[in-house]
Amino acid sequence: MPQLRTETMTVNMGPQHPSTHGVLRLVLTLDGETVLSASPTIGYLHTGIEKTSEQKKWQQVIPLVERMDYLSAQSNSMAFCMSVEKLLGVDVVVPERVKNIRVLLAELQRINSHLVWLGTHGMELGAVSVMLYCFRERELLLNINEMIAGFRLFPSYMRVGGLREDLPRGFHEAVRAFLDRFAGKLNEYEDLLTKNEIYLKRTQGVGIISKEDAVAYSLLGPIARSAGVDYDVRKVFPYLGYETYDFNVPTQTAGDVYARYLVRVAEMRESMKICRQALDRITPTGKWAIDDPRITPPPKDRVYTEMEALIQHFLIYSQGFMVPAGEAYVPVEGPRGEQGFSVFSDGTNRPWRIKSRAPSLLACQALERMIVGGLIADVIAVIGSIDVVMGDVDR
């Protein structure tokens, strides 16, 4: 039999490929269908938010950081506010009710983000109905966002020192209605995927990352938990009183795409448990920010009737507030893993530098380890399963 001439082929996947979740470009070297090497190229969405923030006052940064990882907006702004509160030294006086509301909103945001992930990941593997169902339930969460802040994707509801305003009327009913409905819907998604023969064939044993690699590439989050690293910031370094909530951290050991699916679906169930506990603790009305006239603007009715309140309002919105010099980094558990903002201050009303810890960037870096040696069709399954948001990668 004559020797068959074979040669490798270099393929550019992206940056405009529909399954790269934004503008990720992969330069793949292929031998037939097998991926020999992969080099991710990023930076197409680099908007320089970190540089822009240095020109803004502290409270003006909040809407900017929400747009970094656009699927976990409230987690971003919460992490940023908590870092600034730590620098100000007011984190110890943040009211209990504010902490509970932040926990509730962060967990709803986690469900929201995981729903988008499940929908798009399912669709890329051919399960189009899952996408439609997930976005249907996500709509309810966006309605809740609209209710509290008037903005559906980037509510900017978190503020340094608390929240923008009190919860609206009907908030408890809306969240409870969502939670009651969602428990059954989550079972429906699982019926469609968890034991689906086609889905299992596409995901089991695909895109495996070992526990050692997950540690080496600092994948602190669902990807590491699916590979057997039992780390969750909420358990290991609790914040906002997470130690008082009853919940589990789901882990798997396989480290493949299917394990990541199982971990994230289980996380949504745990988030629902936390939401219910938080909702029971939150009173319909009460404190929504700290009592600090330097940081918290007065309520509008006082601004219109009292001169002192008007001056205070004017000072906060024109000059902002001073933050003592120093640096702080408060880690929180975002939907994609450990998240946080390294905040550096020089003692003025503008940040000297902020730096976001981007879990998606590290996931993108580890992507190569997961796809080399696999088939090109599996690349799409793997990219979907690591849940990268390019806004978070490039910032």
Partner: protein, 183 residues
């Protein structure tokens, strides 16, 4: 474990390295390490059985221009086994901004160091892939440096369209015709 106990342990694990404690407002114990001992201290932090900082959670830099030493490279480390967090900082002078890479100790540092090189111009000696990460490859300057200009407006650069008069056009056609007939 409190900060001073951690520092004593680390000093024991990396004898000979200059390690200074620094104040910190958050959960991270903060230390300053001199540039020459980064690798030694990093290895001790990762491998010492009482420390085991196996995760490099974050690597970034700060520019305190116009003061000198101008740069601070910040490493945020996590030890899951002992539930510890640590911030390690290295000071670098502006005209001599280079430090040894830690990507051999924590592979996650690869892209994070590339990002710091890209945005601050700090060189990581021995880095396996020292390219820009976020900015275009032909970008000049380092945007996150404090002396990098912000919000500048440059006049838009437009390529001039090629203008040929009618006379030149006829001459060109004639010249082409002649050159073809010569062949």
């Amino acid at each position: 474990m409190d900060g001073s106990a951690l520092l004593a342990l680390l000093q024991q694990a990396a004898p000979g390295a200059t390690i200074d404690a620094a104040p910190s407002v958050d959960v991270h114990t903060t230390i300053y390490v001199s540039r020459d001992h980064v690798i030694e201290v990093a290895r001790a932090l990762r491998d010492a059985p009482e420390l085991r900082f196996s995760f490099l959670a974050e690597l970034t830099a700060v520019d305190v221009w116009p003061r000198e030493p101008r740069f601070e490279v910040v490493y945020v480390l996590v030890s899951i086994e002992h539930r510890l967090r640590l911030r390690m900082k290295v000071r670098l002078h502006g005209e001599d901004a280079h430090v040894a890479t830690v990507s051999g100790i924590w592979p996650a540092a690869n892209w994070l160091e590339r990002e710091v090189w890209d945005l601050f111009g700090i060189v990581f000696d021995g880095h396996p892939d020292p390219r820009r990460l976020l900015m275009p490859e032909d970008w000049e300057g380092f945007p996150l440096r404090k002396d990098s200009p912000v919000q500048i407006r440059r006049p838009p650069h437009v390529a001039e369209p090629l203008q040929v008069t009618a006379e030149e056009f006829r001459q060109n056609v004639e010249r082409d015709r002649l050159s073809r007939s010569e062949m």
